[in-house]
């Protein structure tokens, strides 16, 4: 029997479900990335980054999500990002690696160095693409601290989940 209270409860449930569905479809609020050991998560990094964490010796890990309006593939976006970064001659591309998250999402990791081995920095960009979003995981820091944090950074990238 439809009583007023029942109608109100049903309406509220419907609205809540729709809201949750909207949020889930957008993917922005549900992406997950493990905070590496030795890193601290920074609050309120929007709108540039969805998540950002930093180590005590200056290595930074961040995730940004952008709408995939052109519906580009992983190959397209990784190539576009690589060309844009290397348009700055300070960045020297040293490697490209295929990566997979624990959830099975395929991505590509672009590795760069800036400066010389003694005083320069390392910079990684891991790209994951869905039909709706382009996820860019950036991490960078001075050579020494970055190399020490490398295992944790790789583990964090594998833990990525777009939600």
């Amino acid at each position: 029997m439809k009583t007023p209270s029942n109608i109100i409860r049903h309406t509220l449930l419907t609205v809540a479900s729709l809201a949750l569905l909207a949020v889930a479809s957008s993917g922005c609020g549900s992406l997950r990335l493990r905070t590496p050991d030795g890193f601290a998560r920074l609050p309120d990094q929007a709108p540039n980054y969805q998540l950002r964490s930093v180590s005590a010796d200056g290595v930074v890990l961040a995730v940004r999500a952008q709408p995939n309006r052109v519906e580009g593939s992983l190959a397209f976006w990784s190539e576009a990002i690589d060309r844009t970064v290397r348009a700055d001659a300070n960045y020297v591309g040293i490697a490209t690696a295929e990566v997979h998250t624990t959830a099975g999402l395929a991505g590509r990791r672009l590795e760069y160095v800036v400066g010389d081995a003694a005083t320069g920095h390392r910079y990684w960009i891991a790209v994951f693409v869905t039909h709706a979003q382009v996820y860019v995981i950036e991490t960078g820091g001075a050579h020494g601290p970055f190399d020490r944090a490398r295992p944790e950074l790789e583990r964090a990238i594998r833990s990525f989940s777009p939600g």
């Binding site: 010796d57 060309r83 844009t84 970064v85 001659a89 003694a118 960078g140 001075a142």
Partner: protein, 330 residues
Amino acid sequence: MEFAHRSKSGRLRAFAFVLAGVAAVAGCGAGSQSARPYRGTSYGGASAVTVASVSGGSGGDYGAEADSTSSRSRVDESPSAAMPTGSGVTASFPSPQAPSAAARTMTGVVTQRATTTPPATTSNSQASREPARTPDTSTQRMLIYTASMALMVDQVTASIDRAVAVAIEAGGFLAQRTDNSVQLRIPSPRFRDVFASLERLGDVQSRSVQAEDVSEQFHDLEVQLTNLRSVQHRLQEFLTRANNITEMLNVERELERISAQIDQIEGRMHFLQNRAQLSTISLALSPRPVVVLHGPDPVPHATMYLPSPQMSLAIDWLRELGLPRLLQLR
């Protein structure tokens, strides 16, 4: 001479004259024999040691030299020679030119004896007259490496410090340093390794390497040194057997001259050895226009020099990627 046609007194005078001549000749022989240090064994007997050891010659080789030495010995030893007082010969001191003349003669003698072919009689003389055998250096080249390199680096001072550390680690040392350049001395066996290590410090703008072969030059100096030392040794032996102050002064003067030549040659050889043992690398460093980032600072200040983009998609967020924005925490 027509003795038969002279009077008795005339014959007596002629006989006295002949006796005086014979006495003079005998005195010459005695004086000559006393100059044994300048004679060969064929002349002087057991006491003629030095010259024999140098020349080992038979009498025939030194006939002319013996004449000159005998005449010199007459001049040198006239104050002390046992000249017959009754012969009418006046003893006199040697003239001021005599010592130098004697020295020149002696030098000529030494030089001549040093260059004549040694007879197969005295092994010592043969060994001393031949140039001393030097180690076979024909297969070991002496190369002097000199290199220069221009590098573009992020931080000049730190790169210079690193270059010096590389040199020290290789057994070398810092020779010269300025604000943007450094000169390093590196052990030659490590030259290539160090040069390759220095190239990795930054972007090489230019490099040059020169190798100077001084093997022949060094070998020539070795031969000269050996010969001079041989001469020096003989002069030292002469000095021990000098019979008077004049001879000693002459020999010492020659010794001083030979020693000066030896010092000069040894100095030159040491210079070449040092240059060959330690290569020279000169580095000129200049700053590279790169991103300057302050890593661990809480709010790093980033300055980026961007060239013209080679490609531009109409996607603004692509240009937001990069280290400056990533490391600028808030």
